[in-house]
Symmetry: C2
Subunit: 423 residues, 2 copies
């Protein structure tokens, strides 16, 4: 079980979390007791407070000491949740990153979990003691505290679930599951009973920010079944081990769910949108072998993620316009880098535009079904929405459009693929 910062903000809310944990541990009806590990975030706002202290102390902070400071937020909430569980009559104890231990790389402030070897914790859980684990933190080979970077608690939860061979990793959050699209845009969006890891990765990477992308990748690699659900769920539903949220599972389990009639197979599972990309056009780039490498190699070296790429036929022979997208936050850096290499690349002008949006239709069903792309293009064209670029993967088709048309495009596609909920 994993609870985020909003759920842990203050002793009142921690008590509600403890009641949910107790219900899961105790079970009810046919559902017997469960061994439970709980991963917690810092109280909402606390990590920001600690990060600000670090900035005030030293603008160019040493990430190793930054980790010492910011990891304390989760240390506090894990101790408090253990105390609260005890006050409800449960046996519980905290296991800090260096105690389990959660071994990570030495890349402080953005470490990656390498392994979790927690025989003592597993033994303690097998004796009925609830394990409370601070998310976001680990320990390096040198015995120093490390953190995984902001939002790392989801990844901690999946890693702990893998380490204890959990049946499931339940991620409690402020939404009650994964929807066919953003319900703030489409009132008829439906909550999905299940999605596959790959679908979730595509939905997450294009803006449906329910889970940290890295945590989904890890779950897929380790075969950890995730449920995303609301922290306002009823304790009875938890005790009975009902599944009120959205399961994130392997292709095989999804096939089984369809076979068992628990899920209906759709060609398209969901529609995602992303307004955080920016478009760069380089005009009159020499149309010769190697020219494109001059553009994209330095961007890759600087860890700037290039997404869509289109090469237009230029006005003059032997020249071409190259269009691509980068995250808006990286736009100034990308632009400066390209200007620096103007001589090598040999372009005429840089044109940038951050008023674009990327709309994606996602679904494992489209692998075996032609016609998904043509439905997309026709529906958008019928409403006069201009497609500036297209990219595809096995389970996703994305188009770049004018940012102002985002909501319209999402609604049109949601209807076109038959995703609207019945009235």
């Amino acid at each position: 079980m994993k609870f985020g910062g909003t759920s842990m903000a203050g002793t009142e809310r921690i008590r509600r979390v403890a009641n949910i944990v107790r219900a899961q541990a105790a079970g009810s009806g046919d559902k017997g007791a469960s061994e439970v590990a709980v991963v917690v975030s810092a109280m909402a706002g606390e990590t920001d407070r600690l990060v600000n202290f670090c900035r005030e102390a030293n603008a160019l902070y040493d990430p190793a000491e930054y980790d010492v400071v910011v990891s304390s937020g989760e240390q506090v909430t894990s101790g408090l949740l253990a105390l609260t569980l005890q006050s409800l009559g449960c046996r519980a104890r905290s296991w800090l990153g260096w105690q389990m231990p959660v071994e990570t790389t030495a890349a402080h402030a953005k470490a990656r979990i390498e392994s979790i070897d927690a025989p003592d914790m597993v033994e303690s859980m097998s004796k009925g003691e609830i394990a409370v684990v601070p998310g976001f933190q680990g320990v390096t080979e040198n015995g120093r505290i490390s953190t995984l970077g902001r939002g790392g608690s989801d990844t901690s939860a999946v890693a702990v679930a893998a380490a204890v061979k959990a049946d499931r990793c339940d991620i409690y959050t402020d939404v009650d599951g994964v929807y066919t699209t953003d319900p703030r845009i489409v009132a008829k969006a439906r909550k999905l009973k299940a999605v596959t890891y790959e679908e979730m990765l595509e939905l997450a990477s294009v803006g449906a920010k329910v889970l940290q992308t890295r945590s989904v990748g890890l779950a897929m690699k380790e075969g950890v079944r995730i449920q995303v659900l609301s922290s306002f769920v009823g304790e009875d539903a938890v005790a009975a081990d009902q599944l009120p949220g959205t399961l994130i599972v392997s292709d095989e389990e999804m096939d089984q769910l369809v076979e068992d009639g628990l899920m209906e197979r759709q060609h398209v599972t969901g529609i995602a949108h992303d307004k955080n990309e920016a478009k760069i056009i380089l005009t009159r780039v020499p149309d010769k072998p190697g020219a494109v490498a001059h553009i994209f190699e330095p961007l890759a070296d600087a860890s700037i993620n290039v997404d869509m790429i289109i090469q237009n036929v230029g006005r003059d022979k032997g020249e071409t316009d190259v269009t691509f997208t980068v995250p808006q936050a990286d736009l100034p850096r990308a632009q400066a880098m390209l200007e620096d290499r103007r001589g090598d690349i040999g372009f005429n002008r840089i044109i940038t535009d951050s008023k674009i949006a990327k709309i994606s239709v996602v679904g494992v069903g489209m692998k075996s079904h032609a016609g998904v792309a043509s439905t997309m293009f026709r529906s958008l064209s019928d409403r006069g929405i201009n497609i500036q670029a297209i990219s595809t993967s096995e389970i996703k088709i994305s188009v770049m459009i004018d940012e102002d048309e985002t909501e319209l495009a999402v609604r049109v596609l949601h209807t076109a693929y038959g995703l609207d909920a019945a009235d």
Copy 2:
């Protein structure tokens, strides 16, 4: 060097601390560079905030989890001080209790340090890296975080000083040294250049709360020289290694200081007062062997510290009144315990009085000088102050008086022993 919570309250103040630490590490003039370890408290108010969280979570909190929560305050300030020192161009790193490690007993929330074996830290210091150590915390044999109880950071500082074989343990606080008496009572109180461990223990245990008593005892045992000084000291004085505060040293070093003409030997070093005791009178206790043991054994078993004891001759033959003092905070518990054992003890009434004060004159000089006691009794009697009880040790004479006469008695004695500063 040790800095308390007021000195660490916020990044502005931590910067002032960092400047003092840098001055000590760098040195000036004849005084070369020093290897420095700094022990820090949590930001003022932070430990209270964390303790309150624990109380809200679970009134009967598990001290092991309490320690996980409250130790985070010092973790934060040690990381922040390391960062701030780095921003001033110093090399610095934090060493948490479990990293050094500071091994303690398993008595969570009131652990005692058993040993500090810190070869890595000593090596790092020898290479010019400033060690920043969170006070108050350690680690048990089972690898769990422990804390030493409130005010334990002074003890941490002395223990670290002993472990690294420090020349001196400088404890920075909100007073600029140890005075002949409380300057709020006697305007002519003088700051002492030096006191012995034993004097400091007597002064501390009777209410001169500059240092935690346990830290002084540890310093005496380990032979750690302490300096108490103000955190508002000038950086130049620190860099030149002047000694603006009060040294706390062994008898031998004190003799040397007197021989060198740096200190004047006084019969009485200081006057302390303590209003936190309460008096208990048990009337008509059978005057027979073993009766007194029935009173004091159960109190000792319950860790209630009995200080002064007087046995009065009773009105009737074969009976006596027994008077003694206990800390005010323990009065209700002591009273209940005595009532429980009324049958065994066989007293008539319990009379209690918390409006008493204990006034003590302290000085190693009185060992070799008669007449100190008679000066005390005569001076108080001349001013009409009634002495209710007397207790003595080799270097201390204490009297119990009415609480309302505390300030008057302190002033009278300060003058009588020639301690008043010249105008």
